[in-house]
């Protein structure tokens, strides 16, 4: 185990963890305002698919912007169904996940991909159509800082979305806990009728947070595809959206704790692949793959204790639709 090896593992840990971090950031806001966005997995895979197609058609920038738009759109659909029509959040979320997996599955076939690409950009050069291979987002090492041993590789030589995820979690933590906007969001999740009587537009707040969660989940998918693993296959995100959902609980709805949790899950996953490379424990990958889910179940049990729940500030009306008594 040389220094390079450790550096490489840590770098991959952060890169893998960023997928979970980005997806969980938006979800933290949605859940803080009382809405469980179970469509996270579907939104994420739609983000990955969008980024694939648009990075081929118009490049990386368009890919990121479009995937954010697509995710926001899916969040908007969810918010209409769940916030305004007060349909069951679990069912709608699952339906959206199925929709996302189904829609994104189409582009698995090169023929359909070609149709789509030509529709989006008729002047697409022939060689891109022939290879249909996305380029990875370029790494931007930060000068000087990236030369620090170990830490440099771990935090300062990544692509732009990794930096963005770290800055975003700081900002989102600040907004959630230190500003009046954050107070409003938390109060809506804690006691919507109280918030309503104080003049807060509960529906509007929930709509915005759900759209935000869609946008972030989709961005996470885009990052996963063009920033980490630019090779398409069906169900490319492979349940990572659900792990992000788990991470939100592990992080107890706190964007800063989400960073730690994300790198923990990212580390577990990186380790899983590394162990396989070493031929170590042919059985272990499956148990390691279970780990995030088991950790989540245990976390759920621990934080469900009434006193701990109060102290951590779990949103009290999570999953309960709000309807104004008239």
């Amino acid at each position: 185990m040389s220094v390079e090896w450790i550096e490489q593992v840590l770098q991959l840990t952060v890169q893998m963890g960023t997928v979970y971090l980005l997806a969980s950031l938006g979800e933290i806001y949605a859940e803080r305002s009382g809405v469980l966005n179970l469509g996270l997995e579907g939104t994420m895979i739609m983000g990955a698919a969008t980024s694939f197609i648009f990075s081929l058609a118009y490049g990386h920038f368009a890919a990121i912007i479009m995937s954010i738009i697509v995710g926001a759109l899916m969040g908007f659909i969810l918010s209409i169904l769940v916030v305004d029509m007060k349909l069951n959040q679990v069912i709608v979320g699952l339906a959206l996940t199925m929709l996302g997996i189904g829609l994104s599955g189409f582009i698995t076939f090169p023929e359909i991909r070609k149709n789509l690409l030509l529709r989006l950009n008729p002047y697409l050069p022939q060689e891109i159509l022939a290879t249909q291979q996305s380029e990875k987002l370029p790494e931007i090492p930060i000068p000087l800082l990236s030369d620090i041993p170990i830490l440099g590789k771990m935090f300062f030589s990544h692509n732009i979305l990794v930096y963005f995820s770290l800055i975003a979690s700081l900002i989102m933590w600040f907004i959630l806990f230190k500003t009046s906007i954050g107070l409003t969001i938390r109060s809506v999740g804690e006691n919507p009728s109280m918030a309503d009587s104080l003049g807060v537009n509960v529906y509007l707040v929930r709509r915005v947070t759900v759209i935000l969660s869609g946008a972030f989940a989709s961005l996470a998918g885009a990052y996963f595809f063009i920033g980490f693993h630019p090779f398409w296959r069906e169900e490319v995100t492979a349940g990572r959206g659900f792990i992000a959902l788990a991470l939100v609980i592990l992080a107890t709805w706190n964007p800063l704790r989400a960073i730690l949790g994300a790198y923990l899950f990212g580390g577990v996953e990186t380790f899983q692949y590394r162990l396989q490379l070493f031929g170590l424990g042919a059985q272990s990958p499956y148990f390691l793959a279970m780990l995030p889910y088991i950790v989540t179940i245990i976390t759920l049990i621990i934080i469900s204790t009434e006193s701990i729940k109060k102290r951590l500030g779990a949103p009290a009306s999570l999953g309960i639709p709000y309807s104004r008594e008239e």
């Binding site: 076939f109 915005v208 659900f242 279970m290 469900s304």
Partner: protein
């Protein structure tokens, strides 16, 4: 951004007091038709001729051999859905049918392998023990979240969902590890089941045995929900947990038992996959039957009898997916789109059945 989202109209929603059966059924059919229309639009966008797709889907239900194949797929879906109908009745959001099916597969394969490798069990007992083991293992897998819900208020939606993945990876582990067939040339497959461990006893076809099993289970679930004390208690728990508490119902017993039955029936569904459809265990043996079952239950509004035809319909969609992939080179995802679209339109339809929607301009007449 935020201003834009504050739509200048308010949507007033009123509960309907009464809806005729005719209207209710026509809303359901309308949602189905709309769902297929939207799917058609998606196909056109993807550059696929939707008529081809519709044609292949209708073909599944008109050709006897393909319909037969749909029956086979309907059996695990239907059993999982029957299990879910018990859980949903008591307002327990079990979305873990997929995992409970995997546990059912694990248990039934375990019995077969015990028999094959160690010969501990006489031939005629194998099938019976498989069913028992699948039921108990699936049941336990679901009664854990039920127990956690009632004792520690742990949200069952997330625990059942997470346990799906745990079960799936557990089966992966067994199949890539200790349960891999030593004579299987290294493929991740278990040893093939002997004939007496397969569900092919009736007329030599699994579909008949399976349908019989499905109908019997439906009858049993119907009787339990309608005529037993447990069924009555489940219903009260589902309507209001507080009422149930005041009525002196032993909540932890009823919910844990309800969860056990729900998971057990889904576990039987898992058994029908390995010993009916495939004839051995392989990783990812269920292409999401457990999730489809959720749509089936909602579409048949928890009615055990309706579950049978509805699951045949969805079984047919799975068959159609395979055919589309082979004949038209359309990805299997096409079926998932149909399912999801039906799912979404049905829930919106349910909403319209229950509420009247009025759009009122803000600041207008209140």
């Amino acid at each position: 951004m935020a201003k834009l989202l504050a739509i200048p109209y308010t949507v007033k929603i009123q509960k309907r007091t009464y809806i005729t059966r005719k209207v209710s059924i026509s809303i359901t059919f309308l949602s189905l038709i709309l769902a297929f229309l939207v799917v058609g639009l998606i196909f056109i966008f993807m550059g696929i001729n939707p008529v081809d797709v519709y044609y292949h889907i209708t073909m599944v239900f008109s050709s006897p051999t393909l319909l037969f194949e749909s029956f086979k797929r309907a059996i695990p879906i239907g059993l999982a859905a029957l299990g879910l109908s018990i859980a949903f009745r008591m307002n327990f959001w079990n979305i873990g049918a997929e995992g409970q099916m995997y546990m059912g597969m694990f248990a039934s394969t375990g019995i077969v392998l015990l028999h094959l490798y160690y010969g501990l069990i006489p031939d005629y007992l194998v099938m019976f023990l498989m069913m028992l083991a699948a039921f108990i293992t699936g049941g336990l897998w679901c009664s854990l979240p039920a127990f956690l819900k009632i004792k520690m208020k742990v949200n069952e939606i997330l625990t059942t969902l997470m346990m799906n993945y745990v079960a799936m990876y557990f089966v992966d582990f067994l199949i890539y590890g200790p349960w891999r067939d030593p004579k299987g040339y290294g493929f991740p497959l278990s040893a093939p089941f002997p004939d007496y461990a397969k569900l092919v006893m009736l007329l030599g076809e699994f579909a008949y045995t399976g349908l019989l099993l499905l109908s019997l289970t439906a009858a049993l679930v119907y009787v339990i929900l309608k005529y037993t004390k447990l069924g009555f208690e489940l219903k009260i728990v589902g309507e209001s947990i507080d009422t149930a508490r005041y009525a002196g119902i032993n909540l932890s017993k009823v919910i844990t038992l309800g969860g056990f039955l729900s998971g057990g029936v889904a576990g039987l569904g898992g058994l029908t996959i390995v010993s009916g459809i495939i004839g051995r265990l392989r990783p990812r043996a269920s292409p999401g039957y457990g999730y489809t079952a959720i749509i089936v239950v909602l579409l048949s509004s928890l009615n055990p009898w309706l579950i049978i035809p509805v699951s045949i319909f969805f079984g047919g969609l799975f068959v159609a997916g395979d055919i589309l992939q082979a004949a038209l080179k359309i990805p299997g995802a096409a079926v998932e789109i149909c399912q999801a679209s039906i799912f979404l339109f049905i829930i919106v339809g349910e909403f319209i059945k229950r509420y009247r929607i009025m759009i009122v301009q803000k600041g207008g007449i209140e």
